[in-house]
């Protein structure tokens, strides 16, 4: 919730992290270059581009779409994902009547293997406290206008099941290839804070 705009390397927790890092290296419990490996993994290989491939497949392949909605865990097996945090996946589909949005109020559970590491706002108190109580207002503040009759389904990830929203295919994307469609899928649409 840090509203201050101190340089992130000068925060007290940055110094605490440095203190612990040097201690763990001295004790032989950490190798300094393990940090680079984490950055590489979650910047280049594990991220929302993986979820986007799954959504694009569902848009072009109705049988895959049905499988994904019935048994998300089995359906994504072919995508060769790494990154953890998805022991069971439930995919929920948006429609003209229903909008889905995902949260974890108790911590910050998120489908890492599909969407990468969660954005800061997803982990902050404002989103976690309000999206289960006044989702329409929060989504409005985040720039998403829902029709007044739209049902909102909020999914609070309170156990090890992980959730992903299957957005509706944009009307202007008809005829695009699967790879082109994947470029159109945003992280935020798979969380449910944009359409």
């Amino acid at each position: 919730m840090s509203k201050s705009h101190d340089h992130p390397e000068n925060l007290p927790q940055a110094l605490r992290a440095e203190a612990l890092e040097t201690l763990l290296i001295e004790k032989g419990l950490l190798v300094a270059s393990a940090v680079d490996a984490v950055i590489t993994r979650y910047s280049e290989r594990v991220g929302p581009m993986n979820g986007a491939r799954i959504v694009a497949r569902a848009w072009v392949d109705p049988e895959f779409r049905q499988w994904l909605l019935e048994d998300g865990t089995a359906a994504i097996d072919q995508f060769d994902l790494e990154g953890g945090q998805v022991e069971k996946l439930v995919v929920v589909a948006n429609s003209a009547q229903i909008h889905n949005v995902v949260v974890c109020t108790l911590c910050s559970c998120y489908p890492w293997a599909i969407l990468g590491l969660p954005p800061t706002w997803y982990k902050d108190p404002a989103y976690r406290s309000r999206i289960v109580r006044e989702p329409r207002t929060v989504l409005h503040e985040m720039g998403l206008e829902l029709e007044s009759g739209m049902q909102i389904r909020v999914w609070d990830s309170s156990a090890e099941v992980r959730y992903m929203v299957l957005p509706e295919q944009p009307l202007d994307s008809a005829g695009m290839t699967e790879a082109e469609l994947a470029e159109r899928v945003s992280r935020d649409a798979m969380i449910g804070v944009v359409r």
Partner: protein
């Protein structure tokens, strides 16, 4: 545990401070904390996510709100390393005092995290065993059953948030057997039990709640009890089934 982490429905946290996709780590120390949490698992300081989550819940409540996600992880990790006897609080505080000393210009010009393609020299962290377990007994509830959640929880780790206690909802999915976090976080055994998705109407959860919203949570069987449908809903319930 009714800790600061249990944020669902709380007031006063302001507007969402949205940030567009693109930045994974905002500073190198965040990735350092991530790598240290993996290292902590390798060293045996923690061996399941329930234990890790509970350690995060136990950090200083002010720090929980202001130190951000990786600051919370760091606090939880320090606790686990100390509890495992791998490090002492005094060692951490002494080292903190040392790294907090002013340093010559140029020494502490740390740059924001940037990827450097390099394999993890320590290999992947040890695989957590996963949390799904086979069950000998059948589930107590089926899809469409109306259930009420427990009104109180004990002091330790739980995955029944305060806002969903003492509320009535409907079983939307049965997920089979899973390790029970309320016991596993405290080393009392896995004691697997059935997990259900339970869907609550907004008007059940919140005074003046949005009639067009539902909230669904994944709740463990010990949190739930059968409850009758109100008379005017009984017919709807029959049709649902």
């Amino acid at each position: 545990m009714d800790g600061i982490h249990d944020l669902g429905g709380k007031h006063g946290h302001g507007e969402v401070d949205y940030e567009a996709p693109g930045t994974v780590f905002h500073a190198r120390w965040e990735a350092t904390v991530f790598a240290m949490v993996n290292a902590g698992a390798r060293a045996g300081a923690w061996n399941n996510f329930d234990r890790f989550r509970h350690a995060v819940e136990r950090i200083d409540p002010v720090a929980y709100l202001v130190h951000g996600y990786y600051g919370r992880w760091l606090g939880g990790l320090e606790t686990l390393l100390v509890e495992a006897g791998l490090i002492t609080t005094a060692e951490i505080e002494q080292r903190l005092a040392r790294v907090s000393q002013p340093r010559p210009s140029g020494h502490n010009e740390r740059v924001a995290a940037r990827p450097k393609a390099r394999p993890d020299p320590m290999g992947p962290p040890p695989q957590m065993a996963g949390s799904q377990r086979g069950m000998a007994n059948p589930p107590k509830f089926k899809v469409g059953d109306r259930v009420a959640t427990a009104t109180e929880v004990l002091g330790g780790h739980t995955r029944l948030p305060a806002y969903a206690r003492g509320k009535a909802g409907v079983i939307a999915a049965v997920h089979g057997g899973w390790v029970y976090p309320d016991d596993n976080a405290h080393g009392r055994g896995e004691n697997p039990c059935y997990l259900y998705t339970v869907t609550f109407e907004g008007v059940e959860l919140w005074p003046g709640g949005d009639p067009l919203m539902t909230v669904s949570l994944d709740l463990f069987e010990p949190y739930l009890n059968h409850v009758a449908w109100p008379a005017n809903d009984a017919q709807d319930a029959q049709e649902l089934k």
